[in-house]
């Protein structure tokens, strides 16, 4: 083997929130850090230019470059990369570029509930985490400071807090206020959704200026992206390289990770050495990388003595409903979503059906029917012109309301991602193949959510609501490198260290034993921060 092109004490693969946050923290502790990204690097200015010039811009990946050497699934082309093994489609999307999927994330930053950490022992379904809420609570606080989370301390979100949010709550939209009046006294308790969007200038970033396009892109930088921590890592001395696709994790005779193999966009290969290795390439690419790293020491793939790498693939599945309110609510002004109903995440029925959260979306029918484009086109087709056309469009769009509920999906070892050696990407790396099924538990949640949506719209006063049919992907990929204390039944331990290899850590939502009914990013960030000390300790051993 030729001499390695790159070497560092700590090598981190993947520059999304999990990897970038750890890179920044580790570099600030004085460690030598190399952060390796498969995809390209872009800037806010370039991404905005792409977005504004695109005639078809209403989808999460629209502003971002698509690289042949680092393909990614997207809502627009859902089956262009993932091979669907069925029976149900796995339609989650993610980005492959420096900063990862935080470029297009919504920024909702909820904590999990205490009960989310012991679903199995309390309700007899799913799995337990190897620790409880009290263990992660301080790390949630640190993650909220790191990302910059707004929230209202007066709201009961079911997750006790030992410190305030670092920023005041985001002002509610006119639409939120109309919902608030309509839901007052109902069982549906409206709260301000904690979100990593600046309500005031914070950490060198601007306050929100209400572009209403958190997904796909925030033009002001008020929304947190992992660029913040990529740049912090660089300032602290970390080296960041992009367009380097890691495709092999190499082991030495002692089954410690000795290095990584990577490919460049032209297909040429190179290698990276280090002392401690961290995989943070999200919950499809990380297990795929482990599984294709087959060698004498790892015939079933790296870190896979349990056979669980790639298994228990989960997403958050959505029911979306939309209607026309009786009176204007003026959507599409302010952040995409500011308030939500969270008290439907907990209850004694969790053994029978999932908890879910209902977000009140401030985007009209943008995601339901590609509005306002759709209403404009339909209004024009009716033959309207001039002032009458303008009035018709304004009347309809100003009354558009959309709400969506995100349900918990249980872990199932049969739901999995495997490398497809028969179908490879442009540089010869196997593409991910999913085997995936929406279970009855999730479907029961969908049915209850639809009833709840009808009731909520009933309180507001709308026409007959329309509902999405089959479950929609929340693009929250989780669970493919399960965390647990028993090496026979888990891939990583509670410090996110691979049971099989002491100098290998796996960050991100891949480690989740269960997915709860809360957006995963704040927990990803908390777990990354919590893993920093064990990673540093490993370096000195």
């Amino acid at each position: 083997m030729s001499e390695a092109e790159y070497s560092a004490d700590i090598v981190i693969v993947g520059s999304g929130v999990a990897g970038a946050l750890a890179a920044a923290e580790l570099a600030e502790h004085g460690a030598s850090v190399l952060l390796v990204e498969a995809g390209p690097r872009t800037t806010l200015e370039k991404a905005l230019k792409t977005y504004y010039q695109s005639p078809d811009r209403n989808w999460p990946s629209a502003p971002y470059p698509e690289a042949a050497h680092a393909p990614r699934p997207s809502y627009k082309h859902p089956d262009s990369y993932i091979i669907q093994g069925g029976p149900d489609p796995f339609r989650a999307s993610y980005e492959r570029l420096v900063g990862g999927t935080t470029w297009h994330w919504e920024a909702t930053s909820l904590r999990f509930l205490p009960s989310d950490f012991h679903l199995k022992s309390s309700f007899g379904v799913g799995a337990d985490w190897p620790f409880g809420y009290e263990e992660i609570e301080p790390w949630y606080g640190k993650a909220e400071v790191a990302l910059g989370v707004t929230g209202d301390p007066a709201d009961d979100l079911g997750s006790p807090r030992s410190q305030d949010y670092p920023m005041p709550p985001m002002p509610q939209s006119y639409m939120d206020r109309r919902f608030g009046e309509a839901l007052a006294g109902s069982p549906f308790v409206q709260v301000t959704t904690p979100a990593a969007r600046n309500s005031v200038p914070y950490a060198g970033r601007l306050a929100c200026c209400g572009s209403n396009t958190c997904t796909p892109i925030c033009p002001s930088g008020a929304k947190y992206t992992a660029q913040t921590h990529v740049e912090a890592a660089e300032r602290a001395g970390a080296r960041v390289i992009h367009d380097h696709v890691v495709h092999e994790v190499r082991l030495d005779a002692d089954r410690r990770v000795s290095g990584l193999g990577f490919k460049r966009p032209d297909g040429s290969e190179g290698s990276i050495t280090g002392k401690v290795f961290v995989l943070a390439a999200h919950a499809l690419e990380t297990p795929k990388l482990l599984l294709i790293s087959r060698g004498e020491q790892s015939p079933e793939g790296v870190a896979n003595s349990s056979g669980l790498v790639g298994r228990n693939l989960m997403d958050h599945l959505y029911k979306m409903s939309w209607a026309l309110a009786d009176k204007p609510v003026w959507p599409m002004r302010g952040p995409m979503t500011i308030t939500s109903i969270e008290n439907s995440r907990w209850g004694d029925w969790r053994g029978e059906r999932p908890g879910f959260r209902t977000a009140l979306y401030n985007v009209g029918w943008a995601w339901a029917t590609n509005d306002p484009v759709s209403t404009i086109e339909k209004s024009i087709e009716t033959g309207l012109e001039g002032a009458a056309l303008k009035a018709a469009i304004r009347d309809k769009v100003s009354r558009q309301v959309m709400i969506a509920s995100m349900t918990e999906q249980l872990p199932d070892p049969e739901n999995r991602i495997v490398p497809d050696y028969e179908q490879r990407d442009a540089i010869g790396i196997p593409r991910p193949k999913t085997f995936y099924r929406f279970d009855h538990y999730t479907r029961r949640g969908m049915a209850v959510a639809e009833e709840v949506h009808e009731e909520i719209f009933g309180h507001l006063g709308t026409d007959q609501p329309r509902h999405s049919g089959e479950p929609l992907s929340g693009a929250h990929i989780m669970g493919t490198c399960k965390m647990g204390t028993d090496p026979r039944h888990a891939v990583v331990d509670s410090d996110l260290r691979a049971h099989d290899h002491p100098n290998l850590f796996i960050l991100g939502s891949a480690a989740y034993p269960t997915g709860a009914a809360a957006n995963p990013t704040l927990t990803i960030a908390a777990l990354s921060l919590r893993a920093v000390q064990p990673i540093l300790d490993q370096l000195t051993q």
Partner: protein
């Protein structure tokens, strides 16, 4: 902690597409400009907007003219004034779609002529296009002023 001064994309950045359109305009002949004047007049009638951008109008005009079906119908409409026919209605609707969405089609491909000057934004009460910095934090708590 320092507060950055920039507030998102500038108007200049948004108008970069418009600059490219201006370069195209320089090649236009006088007769084409006269026809574009007629196209703009028709556009004003259809949209009810007296303040349409002529450079953007030239792009829409060229794009519609190049359409094998709608091009001849547009010419007829501009030559003969208002005509009630299915094809004439299709041309009018195509013109309205262009101005409202800021998008034109050429050789089967959609292109953005002007994101910022699309008529949908003022029609919906937006002070600035959705996707840009629209106003100070909290402006969204009240309905639009216009």
């Amino acid at each position: 902690m320092s507060e950055p001064e920039a507030r998102g994309p500038s108007r200049r950045q948004l108008l970069q597409v418009g600059v490219a359109i201006g370069a195209l305009m320089a090649c236009s002949s006088l007769s084409a400009m006269a026809e574009t004047t007629d196209f703009l007049e028709l556009s004003r009638q259809l949209t009810g907007d007296p303040d349409l951008d002529p450079e953007i109008g030239a792009v829409y005009h060229r794009a519609l003219n190049s359409d094998p079906k709608l091009g001849p119908a547009l010419q007829q409409l501009l030559d003969n004034g208002d005509a009630r026919s299915e094809t004439a209605d299709q041309v009018k609707q195509a013109i309205l779609r262009q101005w409202y969405l800021g998008i034109y089609r050429e050789a089967g491909q959609a292109h953005t002529a002007s994101f910022e000057r699309a008529l949908m934004w003022p029609a919906l009460g937006f002070e600035q296009p959705r996707g840009t910095c629209i106003g100070p934090t909290g402006y969204w708590s009240e309905p639009p002023a216009h």
